[in-house]
């Protein structure tokens, strides 16, 4: 080991240049300021959440002072803009649940199959082509899907089923289902690819085929991640707005029959926003109460989904 005389490297040796110290001081200040600015940028996301909660709660409190919570949750009519207003959220919930159920009946099976196929079966080139296409499918603006549901899928369904009304939850749900396939399949595929290779190799070594390995080994191992994919899909479907607003009609209708027109929570907000309601009126406050209901529903699903997603990350 050659020892280096450190002092000889710095001719100024013991003498500490005061300017240099001052320079270092200003440098530290600058670093702190920049760090603080970056922290503020990161804090904007927290502020956004606080803002959402505050605004929704603030306007809803006024609304719930006017309409008791029990009426809101149990009344079966939603007619806040009529001369005799009724404020029961159930018709909006039934619309939301029905369209989401139709969408999930499409998205969950297809999303799962696509995820299994891409993760366990597809050759490299197919995956390289299929994944960007799925991404494009998720990137199409929702208003385009709304147009597609109203003016392509509904007429198509009417040729098979002539009694189907022009606005119906079925076509909105079907199109919404195809729209959320990419969300479901990408999360589910990530979960399946996180399953260690050794598990698959064990199955193959025992003579398992691809299909058996996928369904009996990989899927059970990735179950929490796949469940997270489904739950995030539910959250997507519940919060989707334009497809249902365009294709399912905007009349609140307490029914679970997908062949009928109905309004979802989101469609109601759109309908009110299209009109010209004065700021501070009870009608104006209803959309915040509806929004709060929607926010709490999606928050529940998102938290559950992230919790499940985190579990599969920790498993291996």
């Amino acid at each position: 080991m050659a020892s280096v005389d450190v002092a000889s490297l710095f001719p100024l040796g013991e003498r500490v240049d005061p300017d240099r110290l001052k320079h270092k001081f200003s440098r530290n200040i600058r670093e702190r300021v920049i760090e603080f600015i970056l922290f503020l940028a990161a804090f904007v996301s927290v502020a956004t959440t606080l803002g959402i909660v505050f605004i929704l709660a603030w306007e809803s409190v006024v609304f719930f002072r006017h309409v008791p919570l029990a009426t809101f949750l149990t009344d079966t009519m939603w007619t806040p803009l009529f001369s005799e207003p009724r404020y029961g959220v159930l018709p909006l919930l039934s619309g939301t649940i029905t369209t989401s159920a139709v969408a999930l009946l499409v998205a969950i099976p297809m999303g799962t199959v696509i995820a299994i196929y891409l993760s366990e079966f597809a050759p490299f080139t197919v995956r390289e082509v299929a994944k960007p296409i799925l991404e494009l499918l998720g990137g199409v603006p929702t208003i385009i899907y709304g147009y597609f549901a109203l003016l392509f899928v509904t007429p198509l369904l009417q040729t098979i089923w002539p009694d189907l009304p022009g606005f119906n939850m079925l076509s909105a749900g079907l199109v919404m289902g195809i729209m959320i396939i990419p969300y479901v399949s990408s999360v589910a595929e990530d979960a399946m690819r996180a399953v260690p290779m050794a598990l698959r190799e064990g199955s193959y070594a025992m003579g398992g085929t691809r299909f058996r390995t996928a369904t009996r080994v990989v899927m059970p191992a990735a179950m929490s991640g796949i469940a997270a994919a489904y739950i995030l899909g539910i959250s997507r479907a519940v919060g989707e707005t334009m497809v249902v607003a365009v294709a399912a009609g905007m009349q609140p209708n307490f029914t679970f029959d997908p062949s009928e027109p109905a309004a979802t929570i989101t469609a109601y907000i759109v309908q009110v926003a299209l009109g010209d309601l004065p700021h501070g009126s009870i009608g104006y406050q209803t959309i915040f109460a509806a929004g709060l209901t929607l926010f709490l529903m999606t928050l529940f699903f998102n938290v559950l989904g992230h919790f499940l997603k985190r579990r599969y990350r920790e498993a291996y």
């Binding site: 956004t48 929704l56 208003i143 195809i178 396939i181 691809r210 995030l232 759109v270």
Partner: protein, 316 residues
């Protein structure tokens, strides 16, 4: 003679049974692979059907007049000039707000954030915000920007709303791009006496530019197609004028008057035309939708291409 003997051979019978079992199991592999491809095809066909359907209805309307006319009560005179200008200006505001905030937040979380509860809160927040339905952002904007801050139904309000909406996308993309940079780069920079900010500004940010760019483009592609939050803030749909020009003939030559101007954007214009019963207006909707979908698909394709190039070219 030998064949008859082998028929009675118990080993041979077992072997045959086994072969049959393997064959039937392998058939399942094939069947499932076919189902997987079929499901992918449904996605692809939807994309194609959507595109072709809009092209058939919309292409006849796509001429120079369509791009240079204002909306009109007469379908054949209507155009998308104000919507294109509105979308461009709103995107400008969105990008100017979302890029510094998103990149700053991403840098903070990856490079600066201490491990404490505040960082956990910010991280959980970002994941949660990504799942909040877009219409809830619209309600936030309605309550906060339009009424509390008094920005009105302006380009500024819309731009800020969409910026908050795509913030999680930009933050996540930034973090992923930064995380891919090996620690050795940072250590090299620190060893040369660089401060944290110098390391970030001269190494981390330049090396993660394409990754960040991908996220920004995907975010903007999402923002340009968002309809629900813009409707919720109460944006007008009939705008037959342009916002004031940002460039003035007299000093100081730049004006920000356009920020407070009422506006319309592409998806709103399309929604407006879609919700009219006349076929002529629906043809306009198809044409506007075609322009919109080409814009978003081009942006998404660009992002996918940049990411592909990035994966090929960078070898740390």
């Amino acid at each position: 003679m030998a064949a008859i003997a082998s028929d009675r051979d118990p080993h041979e019978t077992k072997l045959r049974a086994l072969r049959r079992l393997i064959a039937s199991q392998k058939r399942w592999d094939l069947v499932f692979a076919c189902i997987g491809v079929a499901c992918l095809m449904v996605g692809v066909l939807t994309l194609v059907a959507l595109f072709v359907d809009m092209a058939i209805d919309g292409v006849p309307r796509l001429n120079a007049d369509f791009f240079s006319s204002f909306p009109s009560r007469r379908a054949e005179n209507a155009g998308i000039l104000s919507a294109v200008v509105g979308s461009t200006l709103v995107m400008l505001v969105t990008a100017v707000v979302a890029v510094p905030l998103g990149v700053g937040a991403g840098v903070y979380l990856e490079e600066y954030a201490p491990r404490n509860w505040m960082t956990d809160v910010i991280e959980i927040n970002v994941t949660n915000l990504a799942g909040v339905p877009s219409i809830v952002y619209g309600l936030l904007a309605l309550g906060l920007f339009v009424y509390q801050f008094g920005f009105g139904q302006s380009i500024l309000t819309a731009g800020l709303t969409l910026a908050l909406l795509i913030l999680p996308i930009v933050i996540v993309a930034t973090r992923e791009a930064i995380r891919a940079i090996p620690i050795g780069i940072r250590e090299g920079s620190y060893a040369m006496g660089a401060t944290k900010w110098q390391t970030t500004a001269y190494h981390i940010l330049p090396y993660s530019t394409s990754g960040i760019l991908t996220g920004v483009i995907i975010g903007l592609a999402r923002a340009i197609g968002e309809t629900a939050p813009i409707i919720t803030i109460g944006a007008l749909t009939f705008i037959a004028f342009l916002p004031p020009s940002p460039v003035k003939a007299e000093a100081p030559f730049i004006s920000f008057e356009w920020l407070t101007s009422p506006f319309t954007v592409m998806p709103i214009q399309m929604f407006n035309w879609t919700s009219r019963p006349e076929a002529a207006f629906q043809a306009n909707a198809a044409a506007a939708g075609l322009v919109l979908v080409v814009m978003t698909l081009a942006m998404n394709a660009l992002a996918i291409y940049i990411r592909y190039r990035l994966r090929k070219s960078i070898k740390w």
